[in-house]
Symmetry: C2
Amino acid sequence: MGLLNKNPKGVKLIDNLQFDEKGLIPAIAQDADTGEVLMLAYMNEEALSRTLSSGEAWFYSRSRQELWHKGETSGNVIKVRSVWKDCDSDTILIIGQPTGPVCHTGNKTCFFQQLTEQDLPSSHPK
Amino acid sequence: MGLLNKNPKGVKLIDNLQFDEKGLIPAIAQDADTGEVLMLAYMNEEALSRTLSSGEAWFYSRSRQELWHKGETSGNVIKVRSVWKDCDSDTILIIGQPTGPVCHTGNKTCFFQQLTEQDLPSSHPK
């Protein structure tokens, strides 16, 4: 498995990750069973490392400026099934099983508000 | 529809979006049919506006620093079924139908490389 994840030069996939100027990388969480996109949060290296080694999702809270074990307070953790990086190594995708509502509002997913053309600032005032 | 998308003060959902200091907001694209997460890119206000009004996904290319009609060159556009914002209004989710491989590598999704604990810098050297 380790060998499969190395390129011919022996560089590990994680070495090429593009953390931004704040040391963060966006991470999408998707429900492994329903396919629903649950949330987007940010990880630093330590959060990613803990996610890969613990099997539960860890993030870095930009507002609190600290490592954040998702569900630490609410009890609603995300059990990780698999972790992926994108083609240009600047986004993470976690596929996992949430043990309860992911959103702090109590919704199952953070994406519960739809936008339509009606939400655009009106370009044709009557 | 417009009324449903307004809060009691008449503020449109889009007014509350949290664009970052560069005027961008991350946007996840998900395949409406397979549920696969396809890519993460960034939108400015104009890209979001064009996405909502044209029915195809537009982004802002950070590398080229210009509006980017996804599929403009490759022909592989994303036909938009619905657009969502998250609870704290700092991420967009586009659910749509890609007309071809989304990734510039030719993969159907940009997330085709799995990360495992084996990819971590080894903390227990032998």
